[in-house]
């Protein structure tokens, strides 16, 4: 076991984690705040990547490219939102439908090509996995961390506004929210748009980081997103009660997820088993709060019995 190799791999895992952490923050908005399981993300991640790849290879400023990716991502969220609210399709199905449609849309965006290279030697990109071991501002970790902080700050401010609170109320108790005069359908659409915009943004960053966009790059994104949300909650949840803290937990969760993956690779396990291991890791993190809860109720129950006696 070459421990130095693992340490050397960690910066790469960290920056991949930070980029996926932004995506997971998007997932957090739908899954935790809105209480909607949104499967659009598998498609909107690739949409963001596709938009960024096309624009950057056309020589567009990468900052503008990621902004466009964000906006197009919001449109994908709008589609899911309309499927759900205007057409009455259950949220999970609405997301799956959009995800399906996006496969074709993404192919169209990339002009029928399934895969598009974004050559770091040729184009100006914001982040590249090539610089991940460089000690300078070029290092992708710096910029992605900074963007994560800005993202969290903006979301914190937004969810503090009246409308942001309406969104949270919609997720917390829909009937109550409606009774307060909140248009819950619209709130859900806005939430889905925001979430998918962030996911597409992260897809755009990922495309630059890994050097290519591919119609299949979002495959399994929701699993990684949910894993990050849950790992973050399990590991750090009790230290943070405020919204910004919780969003930070999500980002850290994604980093932990990639650390675990990197360790699994480092251990030299057969990569054919990688997906099974991923599933196991997520399952364990999902089970921990449940087991904790069980232990808690059992203890509480025992306490009651003693009182009765």
């Amino acid at each position: 076991m070459d421990f130095a190799k693992l340490l050397n791999a960690l910066p790469g895992a960290a920056s991949q984690g930070v980029i996926w952490g932004m995506m997971a923050i998007g997932v957090y908005i739908t899954y935790r705040i809105l209480d909607v399981a949104d499967l659009t993300v598998d498609g909107s991640m690739a949409t963001g990547g596709a938009v960024a790849a096309v624009l950057i290879t056309q020589g567009v400023n990468p900052w503008l490219a990621v902004l466009c990716a964000f906006l197009v991502g919001m449109l994908t969220g709008l589609l899911t939102g309309l499927f759900h609210t205007a057409m009455g399709i259950p949220a999970i199905l609405a997301g799956i439908l959009t995800q399906l449609a996006l496969y074709s849309v993404n192919l169209r965006i990339m002009d029928g090509k399934a895969n598009m290279a974004v050559n770091v030697n040729k184009y100006w990109v914001l982040v590249s996995s090539r610089n991940v071991r460089v000690l300078s501002l070029q290092n992708p970790i710096c910029l992605t961390l900074l963007l994560t902080v800005i993202l969290i700050a903006l979301l914190y401010l937004f969810f503090g506004t009246e409308y942001g609170n309406a969104l949270r109320a919609t997720g917390a108790n829909q009937n109550m929210a409606r009774a307060q005069g909140i248009n819950t359908s619209r709130a859900k659409v806005v939430g889905l748009m925001l979430s998918n915009g962030i996911v597409a943004f992260s897809g755009a960053m990922l495309t630059q980081y890994q050097g290519f966009a591919d119609v299949q790059m979002g495959r399994g994104a929701i699993v990684i997103g949910l894993a990050a949300v849950i790992i973050g909650e399990v590991v750090l949840g009790k230290f943070f009660r405020s919204l910004w803290g919780k969003l930070l937990c999500v980002s850290v969760g994604a980093i932990i997820y990639y650390f675990v993956m990197q360790i699994v690779l480092w251990l030299g396990l057969n990569t054919n088993d990688l997906k099974m291991l991923t599933a196991l890791v997520v399952a364990i993190f999902l089970a921990v709060p449940y087991w904790k809860g069980l232990a808690m109720t059992r203890r509480a129950g025992r306490g009651k019995e003693e009182k009765h006696a």
Partner: protein
Amino acid sequence: MKRIASLLLALCLCLSCVAVAGAEGKTYQVGVLQLVQHVALDAATQGFQDALKEALGDSVNIEVKNASGEFNNCTTIANDFVAGNVDLIMANATPALQASVGATGDIPILGTSITDYGTALDIADWTGTTGINVSGTADLAPLDGQAEILNELFPDAKTVGLIYCSAEANSLYQVRTIAGYLNELGYETKEYAFADSNDVASVTESACECDVLYIPTDNTAATYTETIANVVIPAGKPVIAGEEGICVGCGVATLTISYYDLGYATGKMAVKVLTEGADISTMPVEYAPQFTKKYNAANCEALNIQVPEDYVAIE
């Protein structure tokens, strides 16, 4: 938080320098990054390993890692190789190559099973060498030759259905190219693209309206040959395949390159890079050394097709 991160980063750098110094001059570390498990790619990896082992014996340590079809894993695995400071990376299939190129500009990378390096690396004026730390072997099948064997076996057919996976850029390239050759030979061609395992059967079903079907060297199609066979054989439609693996599963005949040989050729290039210090940026990309006309005896019998004598039966 940031200070801890930068400290950690610095620590990593120091330790990696130590690690490199320690490993110098003993065995070569080679990382193989393969996109997905299937016959052709597996054969290429095998050929690569055999060539390296033959030339270098125990003085090479090959680590094979498979991304199991998940593109994101390619980046993670490439990062793992770069972190381990391997002497050479062999990237099997296009996304594996792109992820490796994204991860390092210094470590030599050899690709294999790449159809077109110009497209994969976004090099506009492709001349045969990359000019960067990349070379390798291309699996571009002889498409004009494949159009010819289709013509040889089915001279009376009118329409040819071209089946491929819309998620694969290399397949689209091949389909468009061979359509040109087939049109010249007087066939009418039609594209049938499927997205994934779920619509392979139904897309193939609709393609059966054509007289003959053609499938290029498509990684996804190669994975689902059984599904395709279950549709085309009962429908009585012959499939000309882009490579042997697909032909074994659902085809009748192919003009194929051997992925094993291709991997083997890549292995020889690796030996040159590792031991002779060859400059990878000026090494021209190599193509398959020879093509063989092959046929699938069982499927030909089932569809009542006679093949000329110069075709070799696939074992």
